[in-house]
């Protein structure tokens, strides 16, 4: 592999990794902090992409970002409403919202399952034309992505250290404590899911605009891919302050994309992405568990061997 090819592969992985890391940061908030596995992520990602695309196509490149985030907040609010006020299990409410969003997304896209943004002005084209005559012009996607990630991380570091942020973290960390404290878990769960889904929507919006099209399946499997990245990030930089952990999460997303891009170079078919991400999630969650069980498994095995003798 020549150096320019490797560099360009690295750049693609970095761009994709950064844009998708916004979803990973969303799960960092909902899954790691709030301890809610939000399965509406796939649908919400597509919702962000669809809403962002429609608004951009109608001529508002910057408004499209806000609209996508707003759509994410609405979706997160409904997921939270189902699980905090209507007695629906948290996994189930994610799945229900995810299913409903499929219809919503097609409706948003005007009944079609594919939208083209080739001639649309998006944040990416705006930045691209601004950088027209500078040496940075081929990095315009990267610049937008870095900016978005930096803003989201800055917000998370600020937010999770506020009193509300601490309350959200306590809700996920020790529900028993929160139950008998003055924190209302319904409120913290709702706020947490709204914020996290805003980032998921943003992530979908940016991915769609960077590749200039939305397809109804753009978000499929996103929750598993993001979880895989989150868990990789956790093994790289899992301890320390929120800032360190958030950076670890972004790093995890990049590592995931890099491995995937390299695997593609070695002729792994593209459709294997979802299998690979599933296997990573399985390994990341099961290995620590099996490690803990290992002494018992080993002893049992040896014990049985002795008995037979």
């Amino acid at each position: 592999m020549s150096i320019p090819v490797m560099l360009s592969l690295g750049q693609t992985a970095l761009e994709l990794g950064l844009i998708c890391s916004l979803t990973v940061l969303a799960l960092f908030l909902s899954y790691t902090m709030l301890n809610v596995c939000d399965l509406s992520t796939d649908g919400c990602f597509t919702l962000g992409a669809a809403v962002g695309a429609i608004v951009a196509i109608s001529g508002h490149p910057f408004l499209s970002i806000l609209a996508a985030m707003g759509a994410g907040i609405c979706s997160g609010f409904i997921t939270a409403l189902l699980q905090t006020r209507m007695g629906i299990d948290s996994l189930l409410s994610g799945i229900i919202v995810n299913t409903a969003l499929y219809s919503v997304n097609i409706a948003v896209m005007g009944g079609s399952s594919l939208l083209n943004m080739n001639k649309t002005e998006t944040v990416f084209t705006v930045v691209k034309s601004a950088l027209e005559n500078t040496p940075l012009k081929s990095y315009y996607i990267l610049i937008v992505a870095v900016l978005a990630v930096a803003l989201v991380i800055a917000f998370l570091v600020f937010f999770l250290n506020t009193r509300l942020g601490l309350a959200i973290r306590a809700t996920g960390n020790n529900p028993d404590m929160v139950k008998s404290s003055s924190i209302n878990p319904i409120f913290t769960t709702t706020v947490g899911l709204c914020v996290s889904n805003a980032f998921t929507g943003l992530s979908g919006c940016l991915l769609a605009q960077s590749q200039k099209s939305v397809d109804i399946n753009i978000g499929q499997g996103m929750v598993t891919i993001a979880l895989a990245s989150l868990l990789i990030g956790g093994t790289v930089l899992g301890k320390g302050s929120i800032l360190v952990r958030a950076i670890g999460v972004v790093l995890g997303s990049f590592i995931f994309r890099l491995v995937y891009t390299i695997a593609l170079r070695f002729h792994m078919p593209a459709f294997m992405l979802k299998l690979v991400s599933s296997v990573i999630v399985i390994l990341a969650i099961s290995v620590p568990y099996l490690k803990k069980q290992w002494p018992m498994i080993k002893r049992r095995f040896l014990y049985r061997g002795k008995e037979e003798r």
Partner: protein, 262 residues
């Protein structure tokens, strides 16, 4: 301060598991009262605390705290004026958050978007150092690294950081080793005295029940069967207390933990 009038609670009514946990219980606590509660297994001590905290709605009666009727007030709203410690030291603090973050949450000063300031940290450090167990040097460590006794002392500090109208201690030293339990009781006494907090403390240690506070309540079968304070209490011994129970409840005290610890 606390005025409980004729409350009752029956669990699983109309089924084979029907259990009258509290039956027409009335209790008045004056401001600054520190009452210890003893009673046999299933006497309704924890149920009484759950009723005060609003874990469930009582079947009848009313509960007033600090002149305010809280019978129908949701749990998390009441929690602002109630401090509660459980037997399990793991229950009162978030293990994945640092000591100072836990304290900041308990202090609850400022709005939702407020941050911990340097002044807050200094205040926390000063309050931690008064516990005398070295936590003031570990403020940025996660609470999960602390021992049970340390965590219980921290929880006590968290519960009383904003002095509550009433402090409920549900055998909060029962899961600790004797030396640590003694230390935590000592800290409890200091904090309660300092802020003059109205306190209810369930204990299985009869001696503690007589030594701590100014009033002792004995519960059985969802009622208060004996209530003593002042000079009469001062002259009581553990044996007297056992005898009083026999008279009050018409049976022998059958709390296995009490019997084992005396």
């Amino acid at each position: 301060m606390l005025k409980i009038s004729n409350i009752s609670k029956t669990f699983n009514p109309g089924t084979a598991n029907e259990k009258q946990a509290i039956t027409g219980l009335t209790l008045h606590l004056k401001p600054g009262d520190f009452a210890t509660i003893i009673g046999s297994n299933g006497a309704g001590k924890s149920t009484l605390f759950n009723a005060i905290c609003g874990d469930f709605l009582t079947d009848g009666g009313r509960i007033e705290l600090d002149g305010r009727d809280i019978t129908f007030v949701p749990q998390h709203v009441r929690a602002r004026i109630i401090g509660r410690l459980y037997q399990d030291p793991m229950r009162g603090s978030a293990p994945g958050m640092t000591i100072e973050e836990n304290l900041a949450l308990a202090a609850g000063s400022g709005g939702w978007l407020s941050h911990m300031t340097r002044k807050d940290k200094k205040k926390f450090q000063e309050q931690l150092s008064r516990l005398g167990i070295g936590l003031e040097d570990r403020m940025t460590q996660p609470v999960g690294l602390l021992s049970g006794g340390q965590r219980q002392a921290l929880t006590l500090l968290m519960a009383t950081m904003v002095p509550p109208k009433i402090l409920l201690l549900d055998e909060h030293t029962a899961a600790l080793d004797p030396a640590t339990a003694e230390k935590v009781l000592q800290i409890t006494k200091e904090i309660v005295d300092e802020h003059k907090i109205t306190t209810l403390m369930v204990t299985h240690n009869m001696q503690n029940a007589l030594d701590m506070g100014n009033r002792t309540l004995m519960m059985d079968d969802g009622r208060i069967v004996y209530d003593v304070e002042g000079a009469e209490r001062a002259s009581l011994t553990v044996e007297d207390l056992m005898e009083k129970f026999r008279v009050g409840a018409g049976k022998k005290l059958d709390n296995d933990r009490i019997l084992l610890s005396n």
